[in-house]
Symmetry: C2
């Protein structure tokens, strides 16, 4: 049984060994830059931990785990163009440091390199791995499109929002876990359970992110709070407040979200007051706990010892306790 | 043995049946728009013909053939952003009709859908198909990057240019043929030969394209000639003229290619005069014939009856005789 640190080491080595230092440099340098940036490597970690949970060898899950990490970073690269984001993990985004065309083409190449990694999985498991990977890749694109659509849509339901974050964020975490299970020859039923565990955990994780963006402690959160409010992002907090705040507050909230001329602190302060009056923080925490508990129940249904499931359970708890 | 028309019908039906009419519409409409546009469907046709040549069932090659066609159209979608091209096959390009973000994301989704199609190939052949498909996808991106690099590079060699068009255009034609061979259980040696046949044919095909852009008959060519000259594109014609034209002409050519303020007709006329004085048309035709003959020799080496190879040979001849 490899420790978390040993798994992290496996992931780091595999990423360092990727064929991303070739020519033309204009194509590969942005790819190396992106993959060197690190990040939490949460997705490959989930894949390897899932493989171990089902008694498999994490090394067998490694190519697919790395494929997921490369895919994830590729989506960030293209998302940063779409969101016009200047910074990512404290460094300039690729389209800012180079240009949009480079970011498009280097991203495309990363997508292909991800499949190249997936390809080096054992032949027998390749069809199943490709199926979940490809389905997930399409869903992530769908999620991103819904996110874009919601920016200009006047009528976003809470269900539609939850489906959007499911697609954009949760299914990739779920797929990471399922991929680990497949490489460990888990039963189809168990692979589906670990997928649903990840899906529910992922939605909880994203809701937590929304909550921290509004109510997080800036020093612990590590970045300025209120970003979603300033960009008029229709998060769960906003949509819930539109549903359950007092009539005056609902009107005020809609008005605040239509304005872009207001001083930042004032706008954030006024929106947070509305959220507080409607008890949004507590309601969001309750929804997070709902999804988290659903995830835990699904994990419990998997026919393995409590001992075997402990690392995944504790990772799930850490993900939800995070303040950044 | 299916006729060309029957193969075209197979391809058209498979493309019409693709899962590209779903939601979100903002994501899928541009994909359907792109795939409906048609084009020659040259790549899937090569795949199916190759499968038949090796005695295989074209239906078995169909998923991979369609994957290649979707991939090809995805690259066009992203290339049109990069090249700022307003029109493609007489219709507005996706980034013009929608916007850059849509073109990025719909393209990404097409890439995933391409792999989804590939996935439905027979399990036994999937690893080999994925390997050639993924390697080729990466190479096409590399080719596009070299093409971008050459725009601003003052020092492009003829070899570098030929390698660029090999990567950007030829390897995908080669891969189409190889994929057909794999699905027909051709030997590895024959699969490699048909690949090299396609590679040489593809380079000849692109050189022909460069030649037509300069010297084609506008009415037959179907579009205005001189486009490469106006955009200062460093084609084989330009690079060869820089190598072998008289000293005065070399200087004049370099100067003409640095100017963007000249009247279109005047610039095209002056460059063509230099090309004519240096006999570039004939030299390009000779190089095209070199690559074409290499292709034909490779086809001849394949251990099949002349009868079996006839359709591919005649397609190759048609490709090189084309005036558009």
């Amino acid at each position: 049984m490899l420790s978390t640190t040993q798994l992290q080491e496996l992931i780091a080595q595999a990423i360092a060994a990727l064929p991303v230092y070739g020519k033309p440099e204009g194509l590969y340098q942005p790819i190396a830059y992106t993959l060197e940036q690190g990040g939490k490597r949460l997705r490959p970690m989930l894949a390897l931990m899932s493989a171990q949970t089902f008694g498999g060898d994490p090394a067998k899950a490694l190519p697919a785990a790395i494929a997921i990490e490369i895919f994830h970073n590729f989506t960030l690269l293209h998302d940063d163009i779409i969101d016009e984001a200047p910074l990512r993990r404290g460094r300039e985004t690729v389209y800012k440091k180079w240009n949009i065309n480079t970011a498009i083409l280097s991203g495309d190449t990363m997508f292909a390199i991800a499949y190249g990694q997936l390809c080096s999985s054992e032949t027998a498991m390749l069809p199943a791995l490709m199926k979940v990977f490809t389905k997930t890749a399409i869903e992530v694109c769908e999620g991103q499109q819904y996110d874009i659509d919601f920016e200009t849509s006047g009528d976003v339901s809470i269900d539609a929002y939850l489906n959007m974050i499911r697609l954009k964020t949760a299914v990739l975490l779920a797929a990471s876990l399922k991929i680990g299970a497949i490489t460990a020859n888990a039963s189809e039923a168990d692979a589906d359970r670990i997928y649903s565990f990840g899906e529910n955990l992922g939605i909880a994780f994203q809701l937590q992110d929304d909550l921290l963006d509004a109510f997080g402690n800036e020093e612990v959160f590590g970045k300025k709070t209120g970003g979603d409010i300033l960009t008029n992002k229709k998060t769960y907090l906003y949509l819930k407040a539109l549903e359950c705040a007092a009539a005056d507050d609902r009107k005020l909230l809609a008005e605040l979200y239509s304005r872009r001329d207001m001083e930042d602190g004032e706008k954030i302060g006024k929106v947070l007051q509305i959220f507080r009056r409607a008890d949004i923080e507590k309601q969001t925490e309750e929804l997070i706990m709902d999804y988290f508990n659903r995830a835990i129940l699904l994990l419990a249904e998997i026919n393995l010892s409590e001992e075997a499931k402990k690392p995944l359970l504790s990772l799930a708890e850490t993900m939800l306790k995070r303040k950044n």
